[in-house]
Symmetry: C2
Amino acid sequence: MNEPTIKDVARAAGVSTATVSRVINGTGTVRSGTAAKVKKAIQDMNYIQNSMATSLKLNKTKMIGFIVSNICNSHFTYMAKSIESVLNTENYSLIVCNTDDNPELEKRHIQRLMEYHVEGLIINTTCMNDKYIESISQTVPVVLVSRRINSNMFCGDFVGSNNFEGMKLLTRHLLDLGHRQIGLITSDLKFSTGKERLEGFKSAMSEANIIVDDSYIYRYDGNLFNEIDGMDGCRYLLGLSPRPTAIVVANNAMAIGAFKFLRTAQIQIPEQLSVVSYGNISNSELFWLTPTIVTLSSTYIGNEAAKNLISRIKNTHIGNREIVYEPTLKTGDTSKAINPLKSFYSNN
Amino acid sequence: MNEPTIKDVARAAGVSTATVSRVINGTGTVRSGTAAKVKKAIQDMNYIQNSMATSLKLNKTKMIGFIVSNICNSHFTYMAKSIESVLNTENYSLIVCNTDDNPELEKRHIQRLMEYHVEGLIINTTCMNDKYIESISQTVPVVLVSRRINSNMFCGDFVGSNNFEGMKLLTRHLLDLGHRQIGLITSDLKFSTGKERLEGFKSAMSEANIIVDDSYIYRYDGNLFNEIDGMDGCRYLLGLSPRPTAIVVANNAMAIGAFKFLRTAQIQIPEQLSVVSYGNISNSELFWLTPTIVTLSSTYIGNEAAKNLISRIKNTHIGNREIVYEPTLKTGDTSKAINPLKSFYSNN
DNA sequence: TTGTACGCGTTATCAT
DNA sequence: ATGATAACGCGTACAA
């Protein structure tokens, strides 16, 4: 006993498949009596349309793919939610693929989504498949979120935040508080976000006429943006001498790791160490200290990404667009003016 | 200029579509020379298989649907991640649909997924579409997560936690600390979780020979499981007289709301009020107080749900199964033995 | 207003 | 080892 098809419905209603199709899709003209018969048959036999067949016929799948580095990071969670809710209004479904920042996995995911013939792709890329993404962007509408790729042939939009300025805000905040020995915990430079944030950091420092000592930057090839790296970074920076009086952390997940480490190590924040970080941290209102951060609106990015993707699906011939969120500083309890005595030592 | 199809490849390679198909799928036998020609053609023209056509032909879509009440709740985030990672090993893709506990939205989502002919469904239901879910469960493999439905015709598995026992653990913990005036913040009874947790609460109370005063239970028809309700619940309970000396919160999102409210209202925890809640809270290691909770392993539930769904896809004729996670108490800083004086007053 | 028939891209059966 | 072809379920141009 198989699933009923449009043929079965047609037979049951005593009409042709064409008529059934017309009733289902509201196309053409059908006498109301006939329509009623068809609707009844559909009800009776519990008929469900087969989207695969429709997609094949119409060459439209009504599916969008979302490639994301870590679906557990609240930044991407909120992004996913807002994307999904925009897509719903247009009757699109969202296929979510998690990469854990593994480039091979990302490529496999994208390939599979291409085979599904998704109508569009929102990608938070690992930044390690630039050529491949460049090539598929010629075929299918693509919106990059958060991270950019290195390519001048890429065809699509970018929605992210102004990492350079955000990081400058964060760093300048520490500088304004008198800090000079400032440590940075950041990621592999392959990530455009990591790179731009590092540059923002350096720019703020250089504007304050401080020569950045690279040993105060925790970063290694292959490190990611996760809690473990945040912990390791703290451990490393606290081992330096002179010890930094402040630390900038380049994203929320690392910041969580950093705070966990510092709290366990019983470092007094902000007395012994100021800590600032990039991006909102979930539930931080309940932390023992409210972190000083620059904001990063996941919802804004998700909404813009979805809206732009849809417009791109409707009109393929659109030039590349950039939507950039401008971060603002949110001062919390984790940063304070440097102790004058310390400042004396570290300024020599 | 259209996407190349298997026909184009066949023409370019000078073979039939059947041979191309054989090469792609590794079925049948193909001379290595011919295979090479085909592979080259595929490369050259950037051919991508069309899953829609394959699905239509084979009646297998390799897609799974995940209906979830709130993709931003870390409980479901971690669940989604583990589901996705299990499915990946079997080459399934996951379509994520967020309902915000809106039953109409849930139904629309499920209907659409049925039209996509997903091979299976993992549902964290609103508990308001029992009949509908019961009916589709006859057609497609279904695994319910967290919440049950009311139905004896449902065909599928359930993976969740032992809410009754978990809540007893939580309540007994407070009772052991001497609390007698215990408030409860919980959800609409339509949720099976809410109902089971309420019963667990009552059972623990009755075993301690305490008659539960319903006015100490914050719950109204239509309330959900979210932060706002947690806040409102606290506000309400603190207005009672005698004021409860302890509060049990029925899930993590409400607990977050409760803690936000209590912190803002400057209620001293646990001196003035003990607070315990059901389920892990994200980043709670960094809270100003570590919450006392019973555990709830999202990863376990996600893994089990995915594994069971796959086994059910492979063998449709399996009886209903129940996988139940057993919670354990994790004592934190938000609960303490009652002040003897208070105990005197409230015990009269 | 309704029905017939073709084709979407693929796989599988049956020849050769 | 390979090719021709039917079939999957649907939408639509065309005919009636």
